[in-house]
Structure formats: structure tokens, C-alpha cells
């Protein structure tokens, strides 16, 4: 079993839809939770960063962390074609040495 599970998609939605992206994890030592967006042939770009459980909002993006369920989500409101990219969840904690573990990424297509 992978430490971080993320559905690779692809996920296709019409412009203006609300997008829900999710990851589950198995290691309770993770304390920092991140969402990155990666366009083709580019490095990942940090979207949201949260510590421990709770919600965080930034513009059209909302990140949720539920540590009791080991489940994190990213919601994108009013999705735009420019949001078409791969979305990566990532987690970090002291798991016998600090390391950051990424999910496989979900490929999102927003159709105009």
C-alpha cells in the first residue's frame, strides 16, 4: 500500500464547475499538507499549504484536512480552462527522518 493514494484521473469537467480533488494517506505522522499544480514539462507550483487539520481558503481554492480520517481535499470553484493541469497532493512529517511524500497526481481537464 502506498503511503499517499491519489486517483490519477483523468477528470474532465465543464468550465464553471466545482472540482473536488482528494488524497488519502496511511501515516499519522504527517503534519503538513500541500497541494501543487503542475503544467506539462514544468516544475510543480505550490497552491495551498496547511498545517494539521482544518480548512484554508485562497481565492477560488479551498483545502481541507481531516486527520482523523487521513483524508485531504482541494476544491476549485468556478473552474477555468487555465486550471487544466495535474494536481499533486503532498505531505510531510517526521517519519523516521523528515520526508515529503507526493501522490501520483490527478490530471484535470476543464472544457470551455
Amino acid at each position: 500500500q502506498k503511503e499517499v493514494e491519489q486517483d490519477p484521473g483523468p477528470l474532465s469537467v465543464p468550465e464553471g464547475a466545482i472540482v473536488s480533488l482528494n488524497c488519502t494517506y496511511s501515516n499519522s505522522a504527517f503534519q503538513y499538507f500541500m497541494w501543487y499544480r503542475q503544467y506539462s514539462r514544468k516544475g510543480p507550483e505550490l497552491l495551498m499549504y496547511t498545517y494539521s487539520s482544518g480548512n484554508k481558503e485562497d481565492g477560488r481554492f479551498t483545502a481541507q484536512v481531516d486527520k482523523s480520517s487521513k483524508y485531504i481535499s482541494l476544491f476549485i470553484r468556478d473552474s477555468q480552462p487555465s486550471d487544466s493541469a495535474t494536481y499533486l497532493c503532498a505531505m510531510e512529517g517526521n517519519t523516521g527522518g523528515f520526508k515529503t511524500i507526493f501522490g501520483a497526481g490527478t490530471r484535470l481537464f476543464v472544457k470551455a
Binding site: V4, K42, G43, L46, G97, F98, T100, F102, A104, G105
Partner: protein, 112 residues
């Protein structure tokens, strides 16, 4: 302000050779992490350095090594290259060890 810069951008090496990849973090950032990303997968954690000390290591063979210099730049070295080492190698920098990380554009390594 310059972002994270990596060099070279592309590299072709022969099996058995050695390679050195370089990373310059954002000014003021003291932590550098290295990742390997194979096409269609999320980045895999290789190393994290903070204040020139190794803080975390992923599940990579001893052929992979890294170091961080007094100016916080970093090198990733890979010995005895295998075909399976072909990937995008990403460097990320952050202010401290557990804060938001910013990625460079990566070095695309092809081993033939």
C-alpha cells in the same frame, strides 16, 4: 526576485556514467530538497538538506548523494547511471525545513 534555478535543463548520459545536477535556491531560503519524477507519476523524495545538514532521505540507492554548500546551493550526484534513472529531477527550496517549498523547472536526464 529569481526563483529556484536548476542547471542544466537537459542532459543526456550513457549508462555507467556519473552526473551532477545543480540547484540555486531562492535568496534567503535555507532548505533544499531533491525529487525524481518519472513521467506520469508524482515526484519521489530523494533528499532534504537544511542548514547544510541532511535532514531526510528517501528510498534511493547509495548511488545517489547530495550536499548543500555554505551559500545554500546544492548538488545532486548520481553514480553508475542506469536506464531507469532517466527522469525529471526537481529541486525545491523553502525558508525553513517545514515551510512552503518552491520548485525549480527541473533537469531532464536521459540515460542511453
Amino acid at each position: 526576485d529569481a526563483g529556484v534555478t536548476q542547471s542544466p535543463t537537459h542532459l543526456i548520459k550513457t549508462r555507467g556514467q556519473h552526473v551532477t545536477l545543480r540547484c540555486s535556491p531562492i535568496s534567503g531560503h535555507k532548505s533544499v530538497s531533491w525529487y525524481q519524477q518519472v513521467l506520469g507519476q508524482g515526484p519521489q523524495f530523494i533528499f532534504q538538506y537544511y542548514e547544510k545538514e541532511e535532514r531526510g532521505r528517501g528510498n534511493f540507492p547509495d548511488r545517489f548523494s547530495a550536499r548543500q554548500f555554505p551559500n545554500y546551493s546544492s548538488e545532486l550526484n548520481v553514480n553508475a547511471l542506469l536506464l531507469g534513472d532517466s527522469a525529471l529531477y526537481l529541486c525545491a527550496s523553502s525558508l525553513y525545513a517545514n515551510t512552503e517549498a518552491f520548485f525549480g523547472q527541473g533537469t531532464r536526464l536521459t540515460v542511453v
